[in-house]
Amino acid sequence: MRSQRGSQSLNALLQGAAVVVALCLTTIVLLISKAPPISAYANIVIGAVGTWDEISNVLVSWVPLLLVTAGLILTFTVGLWNIGIEGQIILGAIFATWALRLLQSSGLPPGIIITAGILAGMVGGALWAMLAGALKAFGGVNEIFGGLGLNFVATALNLWLIFGPWKRPGVASMSGTEPFPHELWLPTLTAQSRLSPSAVVIAVIGILVVYFLIRGTYFGLRLKAVGKNASAAYLLGVPTWQYMMVAFALCGIFAGLAGAIQVTSVYNRLIPAISSGYGYMGLMVAMLVNYQAALAAPVALFFAALNVGSIQLPIVLRLDSSLAGVLQGTLVLLVIIGQGVRQRLTKGGPG
């Protein structure tokens, strides 16, 4: 009992230390760049919560990140490194675009069309994820390299569609496909903002679903068992390969959903950078919350706020906005190192 509480406080101590050290290191980076640290942090904060517009932008960025993190928590729970998540977002966006293009002149009510687009996106993401799973199960291809390769293929497919069959009439452009008519835009909060309340609701439901799945269902329990000890789970009767494939598919659904939302509400068309690195960022958030759904929403919000807030940096201080990424990466790195240090300390201790 005492050692459990002791280890919990050691845990909290190390997490706190990680945040502090991350801030210190980032500050050092700022100083190397001859940039004023306090001013930089202040600008990030202002840039994130200074105006309602900014706050809505943070939420816009939060939605796909949260969805992706939710899906990744499922694959991490079953013990997989789904690096192919970026490609799954892209395929979701592609399928959504395809559905919208198909139905936009069909005369169906716009609500139905948008819903069809989102559903199509979910299917697209799931299929791409299951492809990575199949490569692993039947081809022996490690899901890391299979996923990476499929990311490239998805990017290529996306570019080909944007510059080829789906190009804007006249000249193909890096700005993407022809924007969809206004009715097919997921309704936003105000005319100017890109924030769609339905998207926020979907994202929140998403993380709640994952939380509930893992904690409260037999399915989630079996996922956990496979992730922690696949051979024991097998002996206890869990069909391990099937569960891995289902986890891939579910994660793909979440990723596809994120991609579809990007297409129907944020950009209203397909663009080359449709996944915007949300996949990799989601992996980082998942690592930071130790693959537990409970803290995913606030940590993702924090990351989104950092991303949006740091857009101010080039404008105000002539610094690159990737400072956000520096802070995020340093934090995750320190948490990993902290974990390692803690394991060594507790092993070397008495008993």
């Binding site: 390769g149 499929l150 490239f152 992996l283 990737s322 990424g325 060594r344």
Partner: protein, 332 residues
Amino acid sequence: MSLDLLLVGLAGVLTAAAPVLFGVIGETISERAGVINLSMNGTILLTAMGGFAIALSTGNVVLGFLGGMIIGGLIALLVAFASITLRQSQVAVGFVLALLCRDLSYFLGNPIMGSTGPRLSILPIPFLRDVPMLGALLFRQDIMTYLSFILIGLAWVFIFRTRPGLMLRGIGEKPSAAYVRGANVNRLRYIYTVVGGAIAGLAGPIYSLSVKAGWKGTISGLDGIGWIVLAITIFGGWNPFRAAFGAYLFSLLQWLGLVLQPALPGVPSQVLQVAPFPLMILTLLLVNIGNAEWVERTLARLPAPARRAVAKILRAMNATPPSAMGTPFEKE
């Protein structure tokens, strides 16, 4: 296309492949020892920026390359420390460093974006430069490209012909057997990971000081090359010659994409640029297929002579990773 243009184009392919080669061979050495360094994408970007920055401020290209080696080595040291001493996942640490170093490079490199800095100059080799065809192809390159040629052979000789190279293969394959033969497995893993990182650390500066001179931040086009290097490392079967084949093939396909552009007006250039990647997946699939369980099972059912023949084919095609790659070594 005239022959001259063709030769110039192909010579360009060799030049463009040089940084990829440094990355692949560095990663091959690290993985042969059993440590995956997934940070390659970040390493290339950070060393490109850092090397350029150093060359810019000192006016000396050599110092730029040296800086790249040091940065690459330090990143690899982090990976080694977290995975060997702290026993954390190599994949997790490498992945985070890939993203972190990329963002660091963009941030710290912001002030020098667009600056013109020293460049590596072409060093044609006297006499050889005038050899018909081959001269234009091989002997009118810069020093790093020449070094990349030599590196392939050097790496192959080291890994497959020298005594320490044999031990390198040993610790990656079965560390316990190497331990029994007197190897300090963890220390050797540290050394080879850092050496691999230092060699890979030369790739970035080649870009910023030669091929794509200067530092252009997010539009430098360097983001993503690190992941390709990792894929080519596997394709290369942890063998320098086969890896070189992969690197040159990749470069060639990219160049073909550019060249065939006018012939295929309907296809955007960006697409042709990324066309090699689906090919890479296919090959990844083929080289790994021998490892799949159902293949092994089917193989076991074949009669012995057929089994030997198929095993030989699979062995030639195969890229089986060093068996202990990714797993920490414990003495007990």
